[in-house]
Symmetry: C2
Protein backbone atom coordinates (compact mmCIF):
# COMPACT_ATOMS: atom_id res chain seq x y z
CA UNK A 1 0.00 0.00 0.00
CA UNK A 2 1.22 3.51 -0.83
CA UNK A 3 2.06 5.45 2.29
CA UNK A 4 2.49 9.07 3.21
CA UNK A 5 4.99 10.35 5.73
CA UNK A 6 2.82 11.64 8.57
CA UNK A 7 2.53 11.37 12.32
CA UNK A 8 0.26 8.43 13.09
CA UNK A 9 0.24 8.50 16.89
CA UNK A 10 -2.66 10.49 18.32
CA UNK A 11 -0.90 11.49 21.55
CA UNK A 12 2.16 12.63 19.60
CA UNK A 13 -0.04 14.74 17.30
CA UNK A 14 -1.50 16.50 20.35
CA UNK A 15 1.95 17.05 21.88
CA UNK A 16 3.38 18.55 18.70
CA UNK A 17 0.27 20.64 18.05
CA UNK A 18 0.27 22.16 21.51
CA UNK A 19 4.02 22.84 21.28
CA UNK A 20 3.51 24.71 18.00
CA UNK A 21 0.64 26.71 19.50
CA UNK A 22 2.70 27.65 22.56
CA UNK A 23 5.59 28.70 20.33
CA UNK A 24 3.47 30.84 18.00
CA UNK A 25 0.63 32.34 20.02
CA UNK A 26 0.80 35.32 22.37
CA UNK A 27 -0.24 33.58 25.58
CA UNK A 28 1.70 35.71 28.04
CA UNK A 29 -1.35 37.49 29.44
CA UNK A 30 -3.12 34.22 30.37
CA UNK A 31 -2.66 32.40 33.65
CA UNK A 32 -3.29 28.75 34.63
CA UNK A 33 -6.59 27.51 33.32
CA UNK A 34 -6.93 30.53 31.02
CA UNK A 35 -3.80 29.46 29.17
CA UNK A 36 -5.22 25.96 28.88
CA UNK A 37 -8.44 27.30 27.40
CA UNK A 38 -6.54 29.52 24.96
CA UNK A 39 -4.40 26.63 23.72
CA UNK A 40 -7.40 24.38 23.11
CA UNK A 41 -9.43 27.10 21.41
CA UNK A 42 -6.51 27.80 19.06
CA UNK A 43 -6.11 24.06 18.46
CA UNK A 44 -9.75 23.86 17.40
CA UNK A 45 -9.49 26.61 14.77
CA UNK A 46 -5.89 26.40 13.57
CA UNK A 47 -5.25 30.11 14.18
CA UNK A 48 -2.72 31.21 16.82
CA UNK A 49 -3.87 34.83 16.48
CA UNK A 50 -7.26 33.85 17.94
CA UNK A 51 -5.45 34.32 21.27
CA UNK A 52 -5.49 38.06 20.67
CA UNK A 53 -9.31 38.10 20.54
CA UNK A 54 -9.87 36.00 23.66
CA UNK A 55 -11.42 37.77 26.63
CA UNK A 56 -11.72 36.27 30.10
CA UNK A 57 -13.73 37.87 32.87
CA UNK A 58 -11.74 37.80 36.10
CA UNK A 59 -12.15 34.36 37.68
CA UNK A 60 -14.58 33.04 35.04
CA UNK A 61 -12.40 30.17 33.85
CA UNK A 62 -11.64 29.00 37.38
CA UNK A 63 -15.36 29.24 38.22
CA UNK A 64 -16.09 27.06 35.20
CA UNK A 65 -13.57 24.46 36.37
CA UNK A 66 -15.09 24.36 39.84
CA UNK A 67 -18.67 24.25 38.59
CA UNK A 68 -17.91 21.29 36.34
CA UNK A 69 -16.08 19.51 39.18
CA UNK A 70 -19.17 20.04 41.31
CA UNK A 71 -21.41 18.48 38.66
CA UNK A 72 -22.86 21.53 36.87
CA UNK A 73 -24.73 20.88 33.62
CA UNK A 74 -23.34 22.20 30.34
CA UNK A 75 -26.00 24.16 28.44
CA UNK A 76 -25.22 24.23 24.70
CA UNK A 77 -26.83 26.30 21.95
CA UNK A 78 -26.27 23.72 19.20
CA UNK A 79 -26.02 19.97 18.75
CA UNK A 80 -22.56 20.43 17.23
CA UNK A 81 -21.34 22.06 20.44
CA UNK A 82 -22.86 19.30 22.54
CA UNK A 83 -21.27 16.73 20.26
CA UNK A 84 -17.86 18.38 20.57
CA UNK A 85 -17.73 18.04 24.35
CA UNK A 86 -15.49 15.07 25.09
CA UNK A 87 -17.44 12.99 27.58
CA UNK A 88 -14.32 11.22 28.91
CA UNK A 89 -12.92 14.59 30.08
CA UNK A 90 -15.95 15.51 32.19
CA UNK A 91 -15.12 15.34 35.92
CA UNK A 92 -18.61 14.47 37.20
CA UNK A 93 -20.44 12.82 34.31
CA UNK A 94 -21.92 16.25 33.79
CA UNK A 95 -25.11 16.44 31.79
CA UNK A 96 -24.68 18.02 28.34
CA UNK A 97 -27.92 19.76 27.42
CA UNK A 98 -29.11 21.13 24.07
CA UNK A 99 -32.74 22.23 24.03
CA UNK A 100 -32.75 23.40 20.40
CA UNK A 101 -34.70 20.39 19.19
CA UNK A 102 -37.03 20.27 22.18
CA UNK A 103 -40.61 19.92 20.92
CA UNK A 104 -41.63 23.06 22.85
CA UNK A 105 -39.17 25.33 21.05
CA UNK A 106 -41.00 25.88 17.76
CA UNK A 107 -44.19 27.04 19.51
CA UNK A 108 -42.24 29.18 21.95
CA UNK A 109 -40.33 30.84 19.10
CA UNK A 110 -43.55 31.67 17.28
CA UNK A 111 -45.31 32.93 20.41
CA UNK A 112 -42.43 35.17 21.48
CA UNK A 113 -41.19 36.31 18.05
CA UNK A 114 -37.79 34.71 18.50
CA UNK A 115 -35.47 32.50 16.46
CA UNK A 116 -35.56 28.86 17.52
CA UNK A 117 -32.04 29.31 18.88
CA UNK A 118 -33.22 32.12 21.12
CA UNK A 119 -36.39 30.37 22.23
CA UNK A 120 -34.32 27.34 23.24
CA UNK A 121 -32.62 29.51 25.87
CA UNK A 122 -35.93 30.17 27.60
CA UNK A 123 -35.99 26.45 28.40
CA UNK A 124 -32.63 26.78 30.22
CA UNK A 125 -34.02 29.22 32.77
CA UNK A 126 -34.59 26.77 35.65
CA UNK A 127 -31.09 25.35 35.28
CA UNK A 128 -29.06 28.51 34.65
CA UNK A 129 -27.87 29.17 38.20
CA UNK A 130 -24.31 27.86 38.58
CA UNK A 131 -24.36 26.16 35.18
CA UNK A 132 -21.71 26.29 32.47
CA UNK A 133 -23.06 27.75 29.21
CA UNK A 134 -21.50 27.06 25.80
CA UNK A 135 -22.66 29.17 22.86
CA UNK A 136 -20.83 28.45 19.61
CA UNK A 137 -23.38 29.07 16.94
CA UNK A 138 -26.17 31.61 17.21
CA UNK A 139 -25.79 35.26 18.26
CA UNK A 140 -29.53 35.28 19.00
CA UNK A 141 -28.95 32.66 21.71
CA UNK A 142 -26.41 34.89 23.40
CA UNK A 143 -28.57 38.03 23.12
CA UNK A 144 -31.54 36.13 24.52
CA UNK A 145 -29.46 34.82 27.42
CA UNK A 146 -28.44 38.38 28.29
CA UNK A 147 -32.08 39.47 28.15
CA UNK A 148 -33.26 36.85 30.60
CA UNK A 149 -30.26 37.51 32.87
CA UNK A 150 -31.14 41.21 32.86
CA UNK A 151 -34.67 40.15 33.73
CA UNK A 152 -33.38 38.41 36.85
CA UNK A 153 -32.60 34.84 35.78
CA UNK A 154 -29.84 33.34 37.96
CA UNK A 155 -26.26 33.77 36.73
CA UNK A 156 -24.30 30.80 35.35
CA UNK A 157 -20.90 30.01 36.85
CA UNK A 158 -19.28 30.50 33.46
CA UNK A 159 -20.49 31.60 30.03
CA UNK A 160 -18.47 30.55 26.97
CA UNK A 161 -19.68 33.04 24.38
CA UNK A 162 -18.34 32.19 20.94
CA UNK A 163 -21.06 32.56 18.32
CA UNK A 164 -19.69 32.97 14.80
CA UNK A 165 -20.71 35.03 11.82
CA UNK A 166 -21.63 38.28 10.20
CA UNK A 167 -24.90 39.45 11.72
CA UNK A 168 -24.88 39.96 15.47
CA UNK A 169 -21.97 37.71 16.39
CA UNK A 170 -19.47 40.44 17.24
CA UNK A 171 -22.21 42.59 18.77
CA UNK A 172 -23.59 39.82 20.99
CA UNK A 173 -20.12 39.04 22.34
CA UNK A 174 -19.48 42.72 22.99
CA UNK A 175 -22.77 42.83 24.93
CA UNK A 176 -21.73 39.75 26.93
CA UNK A 177 -18.38 41.33 27.82
CA UNK A 178 -20.13 44.55 28.85
CA UNK A 179 -22.81 42.80 30.92
CA UNK A 180 -22.27 43.62 34.62
CA UNK A 181 -20.89 40.63 36.51
CA UNK A 182 -21.04 38.17 33.60
CA UNK A 183 -18.49 35.36 34.06
CA UNK A 184 -17.54 35.26 30.38
CA UNK A 185 -15.00 33.60 28.17
CA UNK A 186 -15.44 35.13 24.73
CA UNK A 187 -13.75 35.56 21.35
CA UNK A 188 -14.18 39.10 20.07
CA UNK A 189 -15.24 39.66 16.48
CA UNK A 190 -16.77 37.44 13.84
CA UNK A 191 -14.77 34.33 14.58
CA UNK A 192 -16.03 31.59 16.86
CA UNK A 193 -17.99 28.43 16.31
CA UNK A 194 -19.02 25.11 17.76
CA UNK A 195 -15.52 23.67 17.75
CA UNK A 196 -14.01 26.63 19.60
CA UNK A 197 -16.82 26.64 22.19
CA UNK A 198 -16.54 22.90 22.75
CA UNK A 199 -12.75 23.21 23.01
CA UNK A 200 -13.13 25.79 25.77
CA UNK A 201 -15.43 23.44 27.68
CA UNK A 202 -13.00 20.55 27.17
CA UNK A 203 -10.21 22.70 28.61
CA UNK A 204 -12.29 23.63 31.66
CA UNK A 205 -13.30 20.01 32.18
CA UNK A 206 -9.83 18.52 32.57
CA UNK A 207 -6.17 19.54 32.84
CA UNK A 208 -5.15 16.55 30.73
CA UNK A 209 -3.38 17.50 27.49
CA UNK B 1 -37.69 42.61 30.07
CA UNK B 2 -34.52 44.36 28.93
CA UNK B 3 -34.00 44.02 25.21
CA UNK B 4 -31.13 44.37 22.82
CA UNK B 5 -31.44 45.71 19.32
CA UNK B 6 -30.70 42.71 17.11
CA UNK B 7 -32.15 40.89 14.13
CA UNK B 8 -34.55 38.26 15.47
CA UNK B 9 -35.74 36.69 12.22
CA UNK B 10 -33.71 33.66 11.17
CA UNK B 11 -34.33 34.04 7.43
CA UNK B 12 -33.40 37.71 7.59
CA UNK B 13 -30.15 36.84 9.42
CA UNK B 14 -29.24 34.45 6.60
CA UNK B 15 -30.10 37.00 3.93
CA UNK B 16 -28.01 39.75 5.52
CA UNK B 17 -25.13 37.37 6.27
CA UNK B 18 -24.92 36.10 2.71
CA UNK B 19 -25.14 39.65 1.36
CA UNK B 20 -22.19 40.71 3.55
CA UNK B 21 -20.18 37.68 2.44
CA UNK B 22 -20.88 38.38 -1.24
CA UNK B 23 -19.87 42.02 -0.75
CA UNK B 24 -16.61 41.25 1.07
CA UNK B 25 -15.24 37.97 -0.30
CA UNK B 26 -13.39 37.44 -3.57
CA UNK B 27 -15.79 35.03 -5.22
CA UNK B 28 -15.16 35.99 -8.85
CA UNK B 29 -13.30 32.80 -9.72
CA UNK B 30 -16.15 30.52 -8.57
CA UNK B 31 -19.04 29.41 -10.76
CA UNK B 32 -22.51 28.12 -9.89
CA UNK B 33 -22.40 25.54 -7.14
CA UNK B 34 -18.79 26.45 -6.32
CA UNK B 35 -19.89 29.95 -5.38
CA UNK B 36 -22.63 28.46 -3.22
CA UNK B 37 -20.12 26.25 -1.43
CA UNK B 38 -17.74 29.18 -0.91
CA UNK B 39 -20.47 31.37 0.60
CA UNK B 40 -21.58 28.70 3.05
CA UNK B 41 -18.04 27.79 4.08
CA UNK B 42 -17.32 31.46 4.79
CA UNK B 43 -20.60 31.73 6.68
CA UNK B 44 -19.53 28.83 8.90
CA UNK B 45 -16.20 30.39 9.91
CA UNK B 46 -16.87 34.14 9.80
CA UNK B 47 -13.87 34.81 7.57
CA UNK B 48 -14.38 36.13 4.02
CA UNK B 49 -10.69 35.54 3.22
CA UNK B 50 -11.25 31.79 3.51
CA UNK B 51 -12.40 32.11 -0.11
CA UNK B 52 -8.79 32.67 -1.11
CA UNK B 53 -7.77 29.27 0.28
CA UNK B 54 -10.60 27.29 -1.33
CA UNK B 55 -9.61 24.82 -4.04
CA UNK B 56 -12.09 22.99 -6.28
CA UNK B 57 -11.09 20.18 -8.58
CA UNK B 58 -12.75 20.65 -11.97
CA UNK B 59 -16.30 19.32 -11.75
CA UNK B 60 -16.02 18.08 -8.16
CA UNK B 61 -18.74 20.29 -6.71
CA UNK B 62 -21.19 19.43 -9.49
CA UNK B 63 -20.37 15.72 -9.04
CA UNK B 64 -21.14 16.10 -5.33
CA UNK B 65 -24.51 17.69 -6.12
CA UNK B 66 -25.41 14.87 -8.50
CA UNK B 67 -24.21 12.11 -6.18
CA UNK B 68 -26.32 13.46 -3.33
CA UNK B 69 -29.35 13.79 -5.62
CA UNK B 70 -28.84 10.15 -6.60
CA UNK B 71 -28.81 9.07 -2.95
CA UNK B 72 -25.07 8.77 -2.19
CA UNK B 73 -24.10 8.33 1.47
CA UNK B 74 -22.13 11.06 3.22
CA UNK B 75 -19.05 9.60 4.94
CA UNK B 76 -17.91 11.85 7.82
CA UNK B 77 -14.70 11.69 9.85
CA UNK B 78 -16.24 13.07 13.04
CA UNK B 79 -19.56 13.14 14.86
CA UNK B 80 -19.47 16.94 14.80
CA UNK B 81 -19.37 16.90 10.99
CA UNK B 82 -22.23 14.40 10.85
CA UNK B 83 -24.18 16.54 13.30
CA UNK B 84 -23.61 19.66 11.20
CA UNK B 85 -25.23 18.22 8.10
CA UNK B 86 -28.73 19.69 7.91
CA UNK B 87 -30.99 16.70 7.33
CA UNK B 88 -33.81 18.83 5.86
CA UNK B 89 -31.49 19.93 3.01
CA UNK B 90 -30.64 16.39 1.88
CA UNK B 91 -32.27 15.61 -1.48
CA UNK B 92 -32.65 11.83 -1.03
CA UNK B 93 -32.72 11.22 2.71
CA UNK B 94 -29.04 10.40 2.26
CA UNK B 95 -27.42 8.33 4.95
CA UNK B 96 -24.92 10.28 7.08
CA UNK B 97 -22.24 7.87 8.25
CA UNK B 98 -19.57 8.29 10.92
CA UNK B 99 -17.68 5.09 11.74
CA UNK B 100 -15.37 6.68 14.34
CA UNK B 101 -17.22 5.13 17.27
CA UNK B 102 -17.78 1.78 15.57
CA UNK B 103 -16.79 -0.99 18.01
CA UNK B 104 -14.36 -2.42 15.44
CA UNK B 105 -12.29 0.77 15.19
CA UNK B 106 -10.21 0.50 18.38
CA UNK B 107 -8.97 -3.01 17.52
CA UNK B 108 -8.33 -2.05 13.91
CA UNK B 109 -6.33 1.00 15.00
CA UNK B 110 -4.16 -1.08 17.30
CA UNK B 111 -3.64 -3.87 14.73
CA UNK B 112 -2.67 -1.47 11.93
CA UNK B 113 -0.78 1.15 13.94
CA UNK B 114 -3.23 3.92 13.06
CA UNK B 115 -5.10 6.64 14.91
CA UNK B 116 -8.75 5.80 15.52
CA UNK B 117 -9.66 8.49 12.98
CA UNK B 118 -7.57 6.75 10.34
CA UNK B 119 -8.79 3.26 11.19
CA UNK B 120 -12.38 4.46 10.87
CA UNK B 121 -11.71 5.12 7.18
CA UNK B 122 -10.89 1.46 6.57
CA UNK B 123 -14.53 0.74 7.43
CA UNK B 124 -15.67 3.07 4.61
CA UNK B 125 -13.99 1.00 1.92
CA UNK B 126 -17.05 -0.90 0.69
CA UNK B 127 -19.05 2.30 0.39
CA UNK B 128 -16.48 4.69 -1.04
CA UNK B 129 -17.37 4.38 -4.73
CA UNK B 130 -19.56 7.31 -5.72
CA UNK B 131 -19.92 8.52 -2.13
CA UNK B 132 -19.54 12.06 -0.79
CA UNK B 133 -16.78 12.28 1.82
CA UNK B 134 -16.62 15.03 4.45
CA UNK B 135 -13.42 15.37 6.48
CA UNK B 136 -13.41 18.29 8.92
CA UNK B 137 -11.31 17.13 11.79
CA UNK B 138 -8.41 14.71 11.47
CA UNK B 139 -5.56 14.96 8.96
CA UNK B 140 -4.88 11.26 9.60
CA UNK B 141 -8.32 10.45 8.17
CA UNK B 142 -7.49 12.25 4.95
CA UNK B 143 -4.02 10.70 4.65
CA UNK B 144 -5.51 7.25 5.24
CA UNK B 145 -8.18 7.84 2.63
CA UNK B 146 -5.49 8.73 0.08
CA UNK B 147 -3.56 5.59 1.00
CA UNK B 148 -6.50 3.28 0.40
CA UNK B 149 -7.39 5.13 -2.82
CA UNK B 150 -3.81 4.68 -4.02
CA UNK B 151 -4.22 1.02 -3.12
CA UNK B 152 -7.17 0.74 -5.49
CA UNK B 153 -10.23 1.56 -3.40
CA UNK B 154 -13.02 3.05 -5.55
CA UNK B 155 -13.08 6.84 -5.92
CA UNK B 156 -15.78 8.92 -4.19
CA UNK B 157 -17.84 11.32 -6.30
CA UNK B 158 -16.64 14.23 -4.18
CA UNK B 159 -14.18 14.64 -1.30
CA UNK B 160 -14.59 17.62 1.02
CA UNK B 161 -11.14 17.80 2.61
CA UNK B 162 -11.08 20.35 5.42
CA UNK B 163 -9.17 18.98 8.42
CA UNK B 164 -7.95 21.70 10.76
CA UNK B 165 -4.82 22.17 12.80
CA UNK B 166 -1.09 22.30 13.15
CA UNK B 167 0.26 18.81 12.49
CA UNK B 168 -0.55 17.36 9.08
CA UNK B 169 -3.63 19.41 8.24
CA UNK B 170 -2.04 21.59 5.57
CA UNK B 171 0.06 18.66 4.32
CA UNK B 172 -2.88 16.26 4.03
CA UNK B 173 -4.89 18.79 2.04
CA UNK B 174 -1.92 19.43 -0.23
CA UNK B 175 -1.69 15.67 -0.79
CA UNK B 176 -5.42 15.52 -1.60
CA UNK B 177 -5.09 18.34 -4.13
CA UNK B 178 -2.09 16.61 -5.73
CA UNK B 179 -3.74 13.18 -5.85
CA UNK B 180 -4.39 12.23 -9.49
CA UNK B 181 -8.08 12.44 -10.34
CA UNK B 182 -9.28 13.27 -6.85
CA UNK B 183 -12.62 15.15 -6.95
CA UNK B 184 -11.69 17.49 -4.11
CA UNK B 185 -13.07 20.57 -2.42
CA UNK B 186 -10.39 21.72 0.02
CA UNK B 187 -9.27 24.66 2.12
CA UNK B 188 -5.50 25.12 1.92
CA UNK B 189 -3.52 25.67 5.09
CA UNK B 190 -4.27 25.15 8.76
CA UNK B 191 -7.83 26.38 8.71
CA UNK B 192 -10.80 24.07 8.34
CA UNK B 193 -12.99 22.20 10.76
CA UNK B 194 -16.25 20.37 11.22
CA UNK B 195 -18.42 23.43 10.64
CA UNK B 196 -16.73 24.32 7.34
CA UNK B 197 -16.91 20.71 6.10
CA UNK B 198 -20.57 20.38 7.06
CA UNK B 199 -21.30 23.75 5.43
CA UNK B 200 -19.80 22.53 2.15
CA UNK B 201 -22.03 19.45 2.28
CA UNK B 202 -25.07 21.59 3.07
CA UNK B 203 -24.28 23.74 0.03
CA UNK B 204 -23.97 20.70 -2.23
CA UNK B 205 -27.19 19.22 -0.85
CA UNK B 206 -29.53 22.07 -1.74
CA UNK B 207 -29.58 25.37 -3.65
CA UNK B 208 -31.83 26.89 -0.99
CA UNK B 209 -30.31 29.91 0.77
Amino acid sequence: MATYDYVRDGDEIYRRSFAIIRAEANLGRFRGVEERVAVRVIHACGMPDAADDLVFAEGAAQAGVEALAAGAPILCDAEMVARGVTRARLPAQNEVVCTLNDPAVADLAKARGLTRSAAAVDLWRERLGGSVVAIGNAPTTLFRLLEILADGAPMPACIVGMPVGFVGAAESKQALIAFPGSPHIAVRGRRGGSAMAAAAINALASAKE
